[in-house]
């Protein structure tokens, strides 16, 4: 055993490794790194599409445009709100379901399947379904006005900024629970049973066990889920695009839908959109780093 390890560590890295790496590296370089660098460059230009179109260097003007743009700011606010609400709630519900499923002996697979189904259904399909439910003449309004008769007039769920974003949040949470459940279920099953046995001998009840044993043991998974979901929340596009299309008057725009609009619906404001992407990337990076710092510090305590 030892000799093998030794042999491995002394072996020089084979040049053939690099050859094998080349296709993969080339692929990533062409389709990931090159576009990122190119976009960074574009963000400093008044970028025009077309061959002989001359793109002027404009310095930080695009960044200034984005930061002084009311709609961009509103879109960022909406995105942050979406992240702040959906990320913790998805995790809480996901963890809750995972704990419940972890505690039962029978039907655990059927429950897992049931909760995971929303994850594998298409965003577009469920967003459309949500639109039909929350429309002015949708299912929910039908129940409220005609069946339950609790309100006289249909409620415009999708009509105003925050109620429409609320519907999008609802969709995001509902669709995210399954993924969290699977991740947390795996983490829960890796917590040693002995801890719980010792804890019950010491007289801790279930709630105390959850807070003093379960949560600290799955801290790594929590951090992982938090980071992944935050990045995901900043990249949300489909729910808004399908539910409201950013309407009315760009009130419900999130950063990606606004970026799409500026690039493809308005007359190709490539430089603006590139600057916006870089700003969002910076925000996501900052948020992620902050999460790592705060959560790993707790661990040291």
């Amino acid at each position: 055993m030892i000799s093998i390890v030794k042999k491995k560590s002394t072996r020089k890295t084979d040049w053939r490794v690099y050859i094998l790496l080349i296709p993969g590296l080339l692929f990533v370089a062409t389709f990931t790194f090159y576009p990122i660098v190119k976009m960074l460059v574009m963000s400093f230009f008044n970028w025009r599409i077309g061959y002989q179109q001359v793109s002027d260097f404009v310095g930080l003007a695009n960044y200034k445009d984005v930061l002084s743009d009311q709609i961009a700011r509103r879109a960022l606010m909406n995105t942050v709100a979406y992240a702040v609400v959906t990320v913790p709630l998805q995790m809480i519900f996901g963890l809750f379901v995972a704990v419940l499923i972890n505690g039962i002996k029978k039907f655990s697979i059927s429950f897992r399947l049931a909760y995971y189904l929303p994850v594998i259904t298409s965003w577009v399909v469920v967003a459309l379904l949500f639109r039909y439910i929350f429309n002015n003449q949708g299912l929910l309004n039908y129940f409220l006005t005609d069946v339950l008769k609790v309100v006289n007039e249909p409620i415009g769920w999708l009509s105003t900024r925050w109620s429409a974003i609320f519907v999008a949040m609802l969709l995001g949470i509902w669709k995210g629970i399954g993924w969290n459940m699977v991740i947390f279920l795996a983490a829960l099953q890796s917590v040693p049973k002995e801890y719980y046995e010792a804890a019950s001998l010491d007289g801790l009840n279930n709630r105390q066990q959850f807070f003093y044993i379960t949560l600290p043991s799955i801290r790594g998974t929590i951090l992982f889920a938090l980071v992944m979901l935050s990045i995901g929340a900043f990249n949300t596009y489909t729910p808004i695009a399908v539910l409201t299309g950013g309407n009315p008057a760009h009130q419900t725009e999130v950063v990606l839908t606004w970026m799409y609009f500026q690039t493809f619906n308005a007359m190709g404001k490539m430089g603006y959109s590139a600057a916006l992407s870089i700003i969002i990337a910076a925000v996501i990076m900052l948020v992620t780093v902050l999460m790592f710092i705060t959560l790993s510090r707790k661990k040291e305590d």
Binding site: I49, G50, Y51, Q52, Q53, I71, F134, N135, N136, Q137, G138, E153, G156, W157, L158, S159, A164, L243, T244, G245, N247, P248, A249, H250, Q251, T252, N265, A266, M267
Partner: protein, 422 residues
């Protein structure tokens, strides 16, 4: 998507085939080779509606009449049509003739690729047979860079059952229209629908009341889009929206779309284009249609449609051949044939042709509306400007901002665009 892919592949094959054929034929016909001119024609006639078939038939007839000219049609989607001209502006690979959206004219002209069509000696003669309003979409600073190919405009469609049920007469003036929208609305009905809030939608109301979007020379929006008339008209729409007598998905994402709303009897009135006719027939709606009821300045609807354009990059012989082809396509015969597959003619004689009317029953109503219809400002950055207006008008109508304030902001933003492009 799949359909477009197939069309794309077919267009490619067609191009290749025509390339092969033309190269072969030029080899064979040695006698006429120095006289035969090949012109390339880019278009986006709708194959699904049978327009491409009619086009091919018309080209054959044209070639039979003009033995020294060959027309090579190339189908491109709307987006591709625009992008290929933009990139072709650099490489010089441009068509000789193009039939495309009226909005393309100012965009392409700003690329400096369009041939000044009004410089042709018989342009005036050709244009005299064509409705003046649609042809104005090709006019920039009194120079014509194209000629109208086909047109459309919006007329007022109304749900007969709804209006009769509420005992409302068909409106004759704009004020009566607002009144009708208000009175026909109840818990199940929303009087009017506007799917968007751009000038395509609100322009006709503003124009008919004597207002405008930009100054006549397109140099400023100040005092026009935020002028008293525009403010009054948008305020009226905001009032209707507030009492649920007006709706539309861009003002309220929860609202039912116009086509679904017509079918379910939610909407009773809409200013819309020729496509509404077939959609309403399909949905079994008992509808009527009249030109937009007049405001204090008359009945002025908005123009849509396509223009023919010619390019500077063509040789003189090609330009001459292209012009012959355009004259043929805007002539009565070609226009009537195209009307049969849904293209609204611009040729005055074709507009009153019984066969064309048979194909488009509302043609007389549209012809009436077309006499006074107006094009949106023909200026290079118009689509950006219309986006600004759509946003601000939506804010005003939904009550997010006061009407005057929202339109003032629109004027400032548009004037900024104008000063940037100078």
């Amino acid at each position: 998507m799949k359909k477009y892919k197939i069309i794309g592949v077919m267009a490619l094959l067609l191009m290749l085939a025509s390339l092969v054929i033309t190269s072969c034929s030029s080899d064979n016909k040695e006698v006429s080779s120095d006289e035969s001119v090949v012109i390339e024609f880019w278009h986006n006639y709708d194959a699904g509606a049978g327009q491409v078939e009619v086009l091919e038939k018309l080209i054959k007839e044209f070639e039979a009449e003009n033995k020294d000219i060959q027309v090579k049609p190339v189908y491109l989607e709307w987006e591709a049509l625009k992008n290929n001209v933009v990139s072709g502006a650099a490489t010089g690979s441009l068509p000789d003739v193009l039939r495309g959206d009226i909005a393309f004219v100012p965009q392409f002209q700003s690329l400096n690729v369009l041939e000044e069509m009004s410089a042709l000696s018989d342009y005036k003669d050709a244009a005299s047979g064509i409705l003046e309003a649609p042809n104005s979409t090709a006019k920039i600073d009194n120079i014509f860079y194209g000629i109208a190919a086909n047109t459309n405009t919006k007329i007022l469609f109304y749900n007969k059952t709804k209006l009769q049920g509420a005992n409302i007469k068909v409106p004759k003036t704009l004020d009566e229209l607002w009144e009708a929208a208000l009175n026909v609305s109840d818990s199940k009905t929303i009087g009017m629908v506007e799917p968007w809030t751009g000038i395509w939608n609100v322009g006709p109301y503003i124009w008919s009341e004597g207002g405008d979007v930009l100054s006549p020379d397109n140099s400023t929006a100040e005092g026009y889009i935020n002028g008293t008339v525009a403010v009054k008209v948008i305020q009226k729409l905001a009032d209707l929206y507030e009492v649920k007598a007006l709706a539309g998905p861009s003002m309220d994402p929860g609202a039912v779309g116009d086509t679904d709303g017509w079918a379910s009897g939610t909407y009773a009135l809409q200013l819309d284009g020729p496509w509404r006719e077939n959609l309403n027939i399909d949905a079994g709606v008992d509808y009527g249609a009249i030109p937009l009821p007049a405001g204090s300045n008359g009945s002025i609807s908005v123009l849509g449609g396509e223009d023919f354009m010619m390019f500077k990059s063509s040789s003189d012989a090609q330009k001459k051949a292209s012009w012959e082809f355009i004259k043929f396509m805007t002539g009565k015969h070609a226009q009537v044939e195209m009307a049969k597959v849904g293209q609204m003619p611009v040729n005055k004689e074709a507009l009153s042709d019984p066969e064309a009317i048979k194909a488009i029953p509302l043609l007389p109503v549209f012809s009436e509306a077309l006499k006074s219809a107006k094009s949106r400002p023909v200026t290079a950055r118009w689509s950006e400007m219309e986006n600004i207006i759509a946003t601000k008008v939506a804010e005003a109508i939904t009550g997010v901002k006061e009407v005057k304030k929202a339109l003032d902001e629109a004027a400032v933003e548009i004037d900024k665009l104008i000063s940037e492009s100078k």
